[in-house]
Point group: C2
Chain length 394, copies 2
Amino acid sequence: MISEKMMDFVKNSSSIRAMFEEGKNMAAKFGAENVYDFSLGNPSVEPPKRVKEAIAEVLEEDSPNLVHGYMLNAGYEDVRAAVAASLNKRFGTGFDESNILMTVGAAGGLNVILKTLLNPGEEVIVFAPFFGEYTNYVKNYDGELVVISPDTSSFQPNLKEFAEKISEKTKAVIVNTPNNPTGVVYSEKTIMALAEIMYKAQDEFGTDIYLISDEPYRELVYDGREVPYLTKYYENTIVGYSYSKSLSLPGERIGYLVIPSEAADAENIKAAASVANRILGFVNAPSLMQRTVAKCLEEKTDVAAYDRNRKLLYENLLKYGYECIRPEGAFYLFVKALEEDDKAFVERAKQFHLLLVPGSTFGCAGYVRLAYCVSQDMIERSLPAFQKLAESYQ
Amino acid sequence: MISEKMMDFVKNSSSIRAMFEEGKNMAAKFGAENVYDFSLGNPSVEPPKRVKEAIAEVLEEDSPNLVHGYMLNAGYEDVRAAVAASLNKRFGTGFDESNILMTVGAAGGLNVILKTLLNPGEEVIVFAPFFGEYTNYVKNYDGELVVISPDTSSFQPNLKEFAEKISEKTKAVIVNTPNNPTGVVYSEKTIMALAEIMYKAQDEFGTDIYLISDEPYRELVYDGREVPYLTKYYENTIVGYSYSKSLSLPGERIGYLVIPSEAADAENIKAAASVANRILGFVNAPSLMQRTVAKCLEEKTDVAAYDRNRKLLYENLLKYGYECIRPEGAFYLFVKALEEDDKAFVERAKQFHLLLVPGSTFGCAGYVRLAYCVSQDMIERSLPAFQKLAESYQ
């Protein structure tokens, strides 16, 4: 028998599996070109050409036992130094290799830092809508998730409620900007106000409260939008980064944590995070990919392609009568469902061969998420379906 | 502040760090060629040449979005099918892709299966001496580790004590053969007796008890020794495999779990393990390496090189008066310390520039582990130091 905790997951995973099967069946029945799958955040843009070259270079330049062998659990020191230098150049920070821990993607990094920080029953605050996996990551370490309800006018965090709910039990706050699922970028003003609430709470409760910034979408921004680097606004910030989206390498599981020296208890956090990386079974971030990304720190994904998709989909959906916050980053649109029940709306959309994700998955019912990291061609073909879906509600 | 659970780890990691620093200092002081580091299980043999070719082929043959993109959390279906077919060919098993879950090394796989199986307080039995990380992996999921004391005459598992300690609380038993740290291979007779005890306990308690076979050293055997494939002896066996040693790819974190269809609750275990892989933050095994190992299933590491090291070190240590079980697999020697306190013996060895690991790390005080996955040259240079260390006790 599997563990009781995992029972619910199995039920849930069979419904996801059912959805997946349904998508495949729809494609078989109606033709793949007539099914419009907006459900997955799997980058459609190819990795920069430099990635392939860099892999070849690493394999030529270094001995196979170095490239594929064990290194410190925190990662190769030269790779970590290169990441630190690149951040310092871009953001005027003062990191060195001791502040960087290479991780198995951002998901690995978040698990490592939550294992490092959380005692059972300590609270982690998230702002709805939020990436649903945070619930699982926090539960893995017996933490309590505290959800701040969404501000659906702007999808900036609801700071009034945040100030009320932050407490002596709060150990960490997770932010995700540019945001999955809304595409919203938290403004500098928001960040400063959020930091002020956290500083005040630390003073009031005499605790350290960590701000965990989950940043897989940092490089995906449009219209020249700036994404503030959070360690500069709040000392106890820990950054989780991933190359999944910025270099289109989601399958490779490569990212890093930044643990700034000015964070409270930084030395212990660094040491414990390195141990957590080991004992959770990651051991270290994949070695060839560590050395590869170190050669691609200046590379950029084709943001223009996502931007074209964004405009095409956003402008047409508005035209058909949908309501949606204009995304400034990431590759998602968060669209108001045309009926109260977002799951019912997702079911209705399937009749038009549109595969969407219910907002309730992100703690924000009444909305759906569309991932536009797909081909422009598919978006074009899908537009009549969106129009008919809207008309079906008139 | 970091979590209380992690506090001890930080203390412990600073002592490991201190040892690491001491090794570096010794190398600086006496010259790297005069320090003999037998502490790490990092393969000295290069990966087979085919690995590099296979990486290049994968990058040429498949689209970058396939090679580096997301796939099912369990791994690419074609890779899993290839792994299953290779096992069936070698061991006469009847697996298909649904029985294989690609993992972030064996460490990732063990965490996935323990997360899948364990309710808090359930017991996991291990046989001393055992890989110390099992303690952490079991604690990660609030399980209780039950250690069976070593049989130091043969280093086969102590089945008498096993039969006494297996109970209605036992959820799993971990075996590791060829064994780290002893190099012993569990005989077929041992496996059959162990399986019989487990079948009997299942009947008596009306429970399912899983045998978890941790097999990173399966391919490293000497003198034509056979390693029984455990799913054939006990239905509720789950295998954790890694390419770290067999292809010398420890940094790449690539391995798999085998969940046979005949295991109790197999369908739920498969589904839950796939979810556990995701929510623990692994998400999936590194994608390029999945596709690479699928092309290297017939490849073998240079076992002859390890065998030369084994004989050279083993025969000379016996000559100097050390006692040691003759290893039949893996790349470790488990040597009786020349004084009761293995930690004191390790300290004394350092005076002769020998870096060893105390047996108490493996739940077996009074012994030390030597990893002979090093250059033959270093072994030759180290022999006088071993001789002097022995003489210092006369």
